[in-house]
Every structure is written in structure tokens, then in C-alpha cells.
Symmetry: C2
Subunit: 227 residues, 2 copies
DNA sequence: ACAAAAGCTGACCGAAGTGTCAATTTATGG
DNA sequence: CCATAAATTGACACTTCGGTCAGCTTTTGT
């Protein structure tokens, strides 16, 4: 199939007037994706109605289908967008950096990213819990490759005696889980902290807790393993 | 409304033949709840069709509506069930216990519970991410109260110098996030560990990692905070 | 200025899904 | 065994929702 969805779906800004070319299309697609992400995050794919997305984007429903062929296409576009931001924070993990400075920077940035992009973060979590039915093999490979690369750096640090021995894959899992929990499970976090909403200072407390528990446990030092 | 849903919805086993009283009803409700939990976990409330639940429970759809008035009622019943298991693992946190033995036992049991009740755990995660629209105030208060109680114990341990200073609420959040991540986000965990499925030994590795990072960081010892 | 392309939209359709019901069968208690 | 309650179910009513379409308006290039 694939018959309509606008006349020129691809072919970015190749030449000619770079000014406002495709301005309208870009603005509307962005509005649709923003609205969709918020709704998908809260209500999931099936729980979100095309009409709702349209309303939130300030467009009539039929207009949605001028830009996208199906609701699923909107969902996939949103997923693609958030996959692109996956590895941002990982750039701190460099072999020539100080392990603990690098890991702390990573934790703080990840926490910050989740806070500032709460909807994306939640939508992603939803997708994974549901078994990642819309993640392409390429998406998963990408995430996997990036992780593997950073894994090797951790192993190197361990080999150099700069950190305690640790399974780097599990370490990343622990770091992901903690940094995403605050945003993804905001409701339960708020209940626990007895706050109506999470403030920046709560995120600061979170960062400190993660650094002082998870990371401190990895600092080299005489073995105090058994009591 | 609320007109049907079986003749005797409540009034457990009060008297008379305790043998097979209400056997059929009990069996069927259980089958429905089990089937529903699995589906709600994977596809969310709106993504799950009443027909699917019925099929999975081995019943015709109309029979579902003999036991429950609405799909929402099924969902609520499932939620109620899993809230009941929330505090199981927390029983290890007792003031007279050794802090690290207690915390390790807690971590291991929580990990184990999540693994063995993956569907419930995922359904719960789904509910929270979506903003906990079906959690009653009482449910939330229950969770909050239990947590508060354990929080005080941690504070006592800190005051006695048996652990490093830590914000107990954040500590619990870190512990929840890590212990639930493996099950809730199984897909991403598998990709990261390069396994098709998680084996018990992977969970053992997870437990060890959590204990050796998160918990080790809390052991008292001379301050090695700054480099 | 004007033609062609892009953008917009109200009205509509068919598929699918929730919940209903009346009629039938099965279990239970005396 | 019979009467009454419980359990079962196929067929159906009603609604909602994803997606279409034909014709309209606006923008753009020349």
C-alpha cells in the first residue's frame, strides 16, 4: 500500500530556499509527535485515540492522516526519535576519564534527561514492558552495540585496578534502573518522598544517593567483603 | 447501576458445608484473574480485549460478564490482589536485625518475587507509569505507611552508626528500581546480557551486583568520600 | 497573476469491541 | 427426585474508533 501521506515525505533540505522550506509540514509533524508522545506515555498505544492526539496538537483528526498513514506510523516515528537520544549520556564513559567522575557525570545527565523528557522516557518504558513490539532489530542492535562498547571500558578500568571487580552489564542495568525510576514511576516516588511533585532538589538528592551508594561501593579499597 | 454479577458476590465461607462451597465460582474467578493479569501486563488495560481474557481462561466471553460487571472490575480485582503482596519482602527489615543481612535478604526476596510473579510485577509497573489511575487512596496509603515504618528503622541504624548516613526513602527507591528492573524490562535486560531469556543464575548475578554495589557503599568505614 | 502543488477538513464507513439478554443446562439441598 | 439457585452461552444491540475521501482553501514558484 503506502499511497499518500503528503507528496514529499523524504528528501530533507537539499537545495534552493533553505529558509522556510517545508515549514508547515515540519511544524505540524512536530506538534503531532509531541502530543502523541505525551499520550502514548500515559495511556499506551491502544489507550490513545487518534482524535485525542489531534485535539492536543490543535488539528482536526483528518489532518493527522494527511501527515501519517496510520496511528502506528505515528508511534513508530516517536520511538525512532527517542532511540536517537539513547546514547547521549554515555559519552561520558571514556577510557581516559576518571572512572568515578565519568560515572557520576553519566548518572547526573541521565537523571536530568529523564526529568526533562519525562514523556519520552515513560513512553519508552511502556514499550519495553510490553515486550518492545515496535522496536526494530536495528534499534535493538544499536542500543546493544553502544552498551557493549562502554562495557569494555568498564572492564578495562577494573583490569587497571581503578575500580572493584563488577559485571559491567549488570552495572549499567543498575544505573539505568535507578536513573529512570524517579521519572517513570513518579507517582510512587512522590508518595514515598511525601511530595506532591518532584523538585530539582529531589533529583539532586537522588543523584547524591546513587553516587553515595552504588558508586561508592565500587571504589577500590581493602576487601571488607565478609563481616 | 451494579445489578448482576452473580447472586452472592461476597460473604465468604460463613457456615455449612465448607467443602466445595462456591468451588466453581472460585475456580473461574481465579482463572479469569490469572489470564487477565498476563494480558494486562503485556498489552495494558485498553490493549486487552475481553474476548482474549475469556479465551485464555477457557471460557466464553459472556461468562466473564457473569462473574464481573465490567472489564474495569476485572482490572481492579487484579490490582487489589497484587497490592496485597507488596510488603511481603519488607518483613526482613527489623530493628533488631543486622542491617546488611536484612537488606540483602530483602533484595534477594524482592528479586525472587518479581521473577516468579513477572506478570503481576509488570502489570503493576504499567499501572504506576500510567499515573496509577486505578490505585485507591487506601492502597497508596497502605504502601506509604509500610514504607514509612521501615524508613524509621533505617534511620535508627544510621543513628547507631551501623550504616553510613543515607536518605532512607531514596534508598528504598534505589532498591525497588533495581530489583524490579530485571523482570519489568526483561527485553532490554536480555539484550544487554546477550541471553535469550533470564536464567536463575542471571538473577543470582543481579543479586550479587546489587549487594556489592548498592549495599557495600553503605557499610560504615572511614570517610573516603573525596578523592 | 495564475496555475500547480501543498495543506486542510467535515462527513462518512466498516470493523471491532464492550456489555446485554433470554433461553438452556447443570449443580445443590431437602 | 424435584425445585430452586447457579452457571453457561449464542446471538445481538450499541458505541467507538481508525481510517477514507472528495472537495475546498492556502501557499508557492514563475
Amino acid at each position: 500500500m503506502a499511497k499518500k501521506a503528503g507528496p514529499r515525505a523524504k528528501a530533507g533540505e537539499q537545495a534552493g530556499a533553505a529558509r522556510g522550506e517545508e515549514r508547515i509540514r515540519q511544524r505540524n509533524e512536530k506538534a503531532i509527535l509531541r502530543a502523541a508522545t505525551t499520550l502514548f506515555a500515559k495511556k499506551g498505544f491502544d489507550g490513545t485515540r487518534a482524535t485525542e492526539i489531534a485535539e492536543r496538537a490543535g488539528l482536526p483528526k483528518a489532518n493527522l492522516y494527511y501527515y501519517f498513514n496510520t496511528k502506528e506510523e505515528i508511534y513508530r516515528a516517536a520511538i525512532r526519535h527517542l532511540i536517537a537520544g539513547w546514547d547521549k549520556a554515555l559519552r561520558h564513559i571514556r577510557a581516559d576519564a576518571d572512572p568515578f567522575e565519568a560515572l557520576e557525570a553519566y548518572v547526573r545527565e541521565k537523571l536530568d534527561y529523564a526529568r526533562k523528557n519525562a514523556d519520552e522516557s515513560r513512553m519508552f518504558a511502556n514499550e519495553i514492558i510490553s515486550g518492545a513490539p515496535f522496536l526494530s532489530r536495528a534499534d535493538r542492535k544499536h542500543m546493544h552495540d553502544i552498551t557493549l562498547e562502554k562495557t569494555l571500558i568498564i572492564e578495562q578500568w577494573v583490569a587497571e585496578g581503578r575500580m572493584r571487580p563488577v559485571n559491567p552489564r549488570h552495572l549499567f542495568i543498575v544505573l539505568w534502573s535507578t536513573t529512570q525510576f524517579y521519572t517513570n514511576f513518579e507517582k510512587i516516588t512522590c508518595d514515598t518522598l511525601e511530595k506532591p511533585r518532584l523538585s530539582p532538589s529531589d533529583y539532586e538528592d537522588a543523584a547524591r544517593t546513587i553516587v553515595e551508594t552504588v558508586l561508592r561501593g565500587l571504589r577500590p579499597g581493602k576487601a571488607s567483603s565478609d563481616p
